[in-house]
Symmetry: C2
Subunit: 251 residues, 2 copies
């Protein structure tokens, strides 16, 4: 089926996160949680320092057990990446190698393009102390370099996994950048708004608010603009008219 429908994507997103010589179980657990937050499950561990499974990972994973339970352990990065077609290495510096360097955002686009062709991707992450060694970096097609404060550039292992997983998820996500959550309600229509304006303005006239009278037209426009900026719902209009009525009534 994969041969006939080349846009079909594997359930694991076609993306493996490969942690090379990670030290702290807590970081492996936090990385698992970050992966699962963004729908990734294929975690591979190369020579985890404290063995595997590691109970410290479980607490920090906060329930991302599909990732931890499925994690596979390898002796070498080459073995962990054996069937990977597009391999990325995360580093904080260029290491003097002649290699393509991409941002996490660009890497995510490349991964999505590869997955759409049915090809598998992987990302190498180095251990906490010194990152990937140069031989592991040389195994990868591309380097992912996170843009970062040059004065404080060392990113926590799980945080690096999170950023790559987040960018991968967002590259395939169609959440609108900006929307108003209306819940069970709906936006006010022009008739409701105009009745609100007229209610407010008539009460303000009755209370002699617009002084001097020649300023009334400009003040009315400012009030109407202020009210419109808050993008009222039908319920908001009813609430505001109740407030106007309450304030305008005798105590």
């Amino acid at each position: 089926m994969a041969g006939t429908d080349r846009t079909q994507q594997p359930a694991d997103g076609g993306l493996a996160m490969i942690l090379v010589k990670p030290q702290l179980g807590e970081n492996i657990g936090a990385a698992a949680r970050a992966m699962y937050n963004f729908g990734l499950t294929d975690m591979r561990l190369v020579q985890p320092r404290d063995g595997w499974p590691n109970p410290h990972a479980v607490g920090m994973a906060s329930g991302a057990m599909p990732v931890l339970d499925g994690a596979r352990v390898y002796q070498h990065a080459e073995d962990a990446a054996a069937e990977i077609q597009h391999l990325f290495a995360t580093t904080g510096r260029h290491r003097g190698m002649v290699k393509h360097v991409v941002t996490p955002r660009r890497a995510a686009e490349m991964m999505r393009e590869a997955a759409a062709r049915g090809e598998r991707c992987g990302v190498l992450f180095g251990g906490e102390r010194s990152g990937l060694d140069n031989d592991d970096v040389a195994l990868a097609d591309n380097i992912i370099c996170v843009p970062v404060n040059p004065a404080f550039a060392s990113i926590n292992l799980a945080q690096a996994v999170l950023l790559v997983a987040y960018e991968w998820f967002v590259a395939g996500d169609d959440t609108p950048p900006e929307e108003v959550a209306l819940g069970a309600t709906r936006s006010a229509n022009r008739e409701e708004l105009v009745r609100l304006f007229e209610h407010l303005e008539s009460e303000l006239d009755a209370h002699n608010f617009f002084r001097p009278p020649e300023r009334r037209p400009g003040m009315v426009r400012s009030l109407r603009n202020m009210i419109l900026r808050s993008r009222l719902t039908g319920q908001d209009v009813r609430t505001l008219r109740g407030i106007i009525g309450a304030l305008a009534s005798r105590r």
Copy 2:
């Protein structure tokens, strides 16, 4: 001066990260590290459960002391956000409130636009157990909702801080999405490449590689394309010519 140069941005980016009732010092420390990775220093803590300062924060901060040392403690979110002009609240769900919901990426654009006008922004993050309470959310102009795996949507506090800080940094960063790090070397020119091609092809002719002869033109084109795809440097060309010479010599 800020009045005359409205594009001047404050040293702290004009962005405060406000942690409301955080529980674990480790998460405060990890949040501080994430902030400083992306050049942010203004951390505010509302009722940190275990008091402040907290030694558990220091270890996880990995040296982000400008953030921890400058952190200020408040009793209420209103006080922590007192001078903030554009306040965001991070939540995992919409809470049934009628409110603008934005992605972290869109929020970062809005923050950069506000900072360019010399206005201050802040982001509220809730504690580990249950996030922000509804009254704190109601204090904010906008909700930031991270697009996430709906089956595993709970993001660690420090990870949420990281994502907002990362998007803020990237929104003001001009790193090219893709580039080749050449280090001290330079790309090969066409003359070097053609000499390499001819060197290889003449040795292959001498070793009777192109068979049958009518396939030679197509095979040569494929070889040349394969070599060009690796985007050789001048040094690479010299290395490859050495390899060809070595392989073609008698043992």
